[in-house]
C-alpha cells in the first residue's frame, strides 16, 4: 500500500500547488514563471521548524505566512510591470530565491536539509491531510470563482484598463490574488518537505516553476477541476511512463506541445467541447 499512498500523496500536493498558481494566473490573469520559489519558502520553513522539534501542524501556518509575505512583496513588484515583463520578473524571483538559498549555511547551503522527522500521523494520516488541504483549497477556489471577487478577477484578467475605468481597485485585487496563491503554495511546500523528507535548492527552481505552469495550462487555465486533474496526472506521469524509459521526457514535451497545438484551452476545453457535441446530438 505504501507505494499507492506515496502516489496519492504526491498527486494531492501537486494539485494544491497547481491550484495555488491557478488562483494567480487562472483567476487574476497574472502569469508567473517563478511559482516554485513560494513552495520553496514553505518547504524550507517547515523543514527548519521540524528540525527544531516543533509539531508538524504548526509548521503549516508558518509556511503559509512566510510564503505569503514574499508573495505580497512580489505582488507589489507586479503592480509596476505588466504582461511579458511581469512573466520575466517572476522568473527572476525564482532564480534569485535559489541563488540566495544555496549560499545560506542555516538553510543547509548546497547540501539542503535532510533527515526531516516524520509527522506523528503516519503515511496514511499524512495522505489524508494532503488530500484534505487540496480538497479544501479546491472548494475555496470554486467558492471565490462564483463570488463577486471571482467576477472582479475575471474582469482584470480580461482587460486591466477597462476594469480600472469601471472603478475596480485593480491593485488591491492583484495583491489579494498574489497573497492567497503564494500562501497556498507555501502550504504545498510544507507538505512537500514532510513527504520527501529532503529539501535542497535544486528542488524549487525554474524547471519546477515551468512544470506547475504546464499543469495549469494543460488543465485549462482558470478551471479548478481541469487543473486538479492535470496536476494529478502530470505529477505521476514520469512514474507511469517508466516503460518508455529513454523517451520519457521527450513524451512529456511532445504531449505538452500537442496539447498547446490542438487543444490550447486544456482538458476543461476538451470536455466542454465534447459535452456540447453530445448535447447537440441528443
Amino acid at each position: 500500500m505504501a507505494y499507492e499512498i506515496t502516489l496519492v500523496t504526491t498527486m494531492a500536493i501537486s494539485i494544491l500547488f497547481a491550484l495555488s498558481l491557478n488562483f494567480i494566473t487562472g483567476f487574476c490573469g497574472q502569469i508567473s514563471l517563478g511559482h516554485a520559489a513560494f513552495m520553496g519558502v514553505g518547504a524550507y520553513t517547515s523543514a527548519i521548524m521540524m528540525k527544531a522539534d516543533i509539531p508538524f501542524l504548526l509548521t503549516i501556518p508558518a509556511a503559509a505566512i512566510l510564503a505569503g509575505i514574499l508573495g505580497l512583496l512580489v505582488g507589489f513588484a507586479s503592480l509596476r510591470v505588466r504582461h511579458d515583463f511581469l512573466a520575466i520578473t517572476t522568473m527572476g524571483v525564482v532564480f534569485l530565491f535559489v541563488g540566495i538559498v544555496r549560499q545560506q549555511e542555516f538553510l543547509g547551503g548546497e547540501i539542503g536539509i535532510s533527515g526531516i522527522r516524520g509527522s506523528s500521523f503516519g503515511r496514511l494520516g499524512f495522505m489524508a491531510i494532503c488530500l484534505g488541504l487540496a480538497g479544501a483549497f479546491a472548494a475555496f477556489s470554486l467558492l471565490i470563482k462564483r463570488s463577486w471577487m471571482g467576477y472582479v478577477f475575471d474582469s482584470i484578467a480580461d482587460n486591466e484598463d477597462v476594469s480600472r475605468i469601471l472603478g475596480i481597485d485593480v491593485s488591491k485585487y492583484k495583491l489579494i490574488a498574489f497573497v492567497v496563491g503564494t500562501s497556498a503554495a507555501g502550504i504545498a511546500g510544507a507538505l512537500y518537505a514532510q513527504h520527501f523528507r529532503f529539501v535542497g535548492p535544486d528542488s524549487f527552481g525554474f524547471v519546477e516553476s515551468i512544470t506547475v505552469l504546464a499543469m495549469v495550462i494543460v488543465g485549462g487555465i482558470g478551471s479548478v477541476w481541469g487543473v486538479a486533474v492535470a496536476a494529478a496526472f502530470l505529477s505521476v506521469m514520469p512514474l507511469l511512463f517508466q516503460f518508455v524509459n529513454d523517451f520519457k521526457i521527450l513524451a512529456y514535451g511532445a504531449l505538452l506541445f500537442a496539447m498547446m497545438r490542438w487543444a490550447p484551452d486544456g482538458l476543461a476545453g476538451i470536455v466542454a467541447r465534447s459535452m456540447k457535441k453530445l448535447r447537440g446530438r441528443s
Binding site: V81, F85, F95, A214, G253, M260
Partner: protein, 287 residues
C-alpha cells in the same frame, strides 16, 4: 590590467548573448511571442558546427552550413509551431515553445548521446599578447570579430536594401506594412531565418570556446536571452544589444567579486529586477 581583462571577458560573453538574443527580439517584435525554443536552434547550430568541422576540417565551411541549415529549421519552427497559434493568447505559444525546447533537448541526447561532442582537433587554440599582460585568446577574438561583422551586415541589410527596408517596416508596424503591399508572410519567414542563423553562429562560437556541445547546452540561453530582451525593452534591437553587454559585464565582474554571495544567474536577474522596478518598460522600451 585585471579590470580591463574582466571588462573584455564581459564583452565576449555579451557578444554571444547578443547574437542569441537578437533572434528573440526579432521574433518578439513581429509576433509578440517569447520564443524559448530559440535556444534549441542555438544548440543545433553548435552540434552542426562540430560535426561538419570534424568531417571536413573547415570551421568556416561548418559555420556557413550551420547558419543556413538552422535558418531553414527556424522557418520550419515558425510554420509548424507558431503560425497556428498566432490567434491564441500569448502564453499558449510560450508553453508550446517551452515544450518544443524540452523535447528537442531530449532528441539531441537520444541521437548524439548524453556525453556531448568535441572537436577532434580543436581549431584556434592559442592567444595573442596585445600589450603587456593583456591576453587575447584566438577563439575570443573570433567571437568579437564575427559578432561585429554580422551586426554590421544586418545593419546594412535593413537600411540599404529593398528587402531589408520592407522587413524593418514590418517589424515596426505590421499593419501599416501590409497596407503598403508588403508580403508580411515572407517577412516572417525571413525574420526566423535571420534570427535562427545568428543563434547558430553563436552556437558554433560557444562550441569553439568550450570545445564541447551537449544536449543541455541551450538551457542557460533559453532563459538568459529572455531576460536580456526584456531588460532591453522587448522588441528594441538597440536595447537588446545594450542589455546583452550589460549582463555580460555584470556577470564577468560578479563572478570574481561577489560570486560567493550570488551565482551568475541570480546576479543577472537581480539586475533585471532592479532595472524593471525603476523602468518597467525596460532600458529602451517604449512606454
Amino acid at each position: 590590467m585585471l579590470y580591463l581583462e574582466l571588462l573584455f571577458q564581459g564583452i565576449v560573453q555579451g557578444s554571444i548573448y547578443a547574437l542569441i538574443a537578437l533572434g528573440l527580439t526579432l521574433v518578439y517584435g513581429l509576433l509578440r511571442i517569447l520564443h524559448v525554443a530559440h535556444a534549441a536552434l542555438f544548440t543545433l547550430g553548435g552540434y552542426l558546427g562540430v560535426i561538419i568541422t570534424n568531417a571536413t576540417g573547415s570551421l568556416a565551411l561548418a559555420t556557413v552550413i550551420s547558419m543556413v541549415v538552422v535558418g531553414f529549421v527556424g522557418m520550419a519552427v515558425y510554420k509548424l509551431a507558431y503560425e497556428p497559434l498566432l490567434s491564441k493568447p500569448p502564453f499558449i505559444a510560450l508553453i508550446a515553445s517551452i515544450a518544443l525546447f524540452i523535447a528537442s533537448e531530449e532528441i539531441f541526447r537520444i541521437i548524439f548521446g548524453p556525453y556531448g561532442l568535441s572537436y577532434t582537433t580543436p581549431p584556434l587554440q592559442g592567444y595573442f599578447v596585445l600589450f603587456d599582460g593583456f591576453f587575447l585568446k584566438h577563439g575570443e577574438a573570433l567571437v568579437i570579430v564575427l559578432s561585429v561583422v554580422m551586426l554590421a551586415a544586418l545593419g546594412w541589410f535593413s537600411t540599404k536594401t529593398r528587402l531589408g527596408v520592407s522587413w524593418r517596416a514590418t517589424v515596426t508596424d505590421p499593419d501599416m506594412a501590409s497596407a503598403f503591399g508588403i508580403n508580411t508572410q515572407n517577412v516572417r519567414y525571413m525574420n526566423f531565418f535571420i534570427g535562427s542563423a545568428l543563434a547558430a553562429a553563436a552556437g558554433v562560437l560557444v562550441a569553439l570556446l568550450n570545445n564541447l556541445v551537449e544536449p543541455s547546452m541551450g538551457s542557460v540561453a533559453s532563459y538568459k536571452a529572455l531576460a536580456i530582451i526584456v531588460l532591453g525593452g522587448l522588441g528594441s534591437i538597440r536595447g537588446t544589444l545594450i542589455a546583452a553587454m550589460a549582463i555580460g559585464i555584470i556577470e564577468s565582474f560578479g563572478t570574481i567579486y561577489i560570486g560567493h554571495l550570488l551565482d551568475r544567474d541570480a546576479l543577472a536577474f537581480a539586475f533585471l529586477i532592479v532595472v524593471l522596478m525603476l523602468r518597467p518598460q525596460g532600458l529602451l522600451g517604449a512606454k
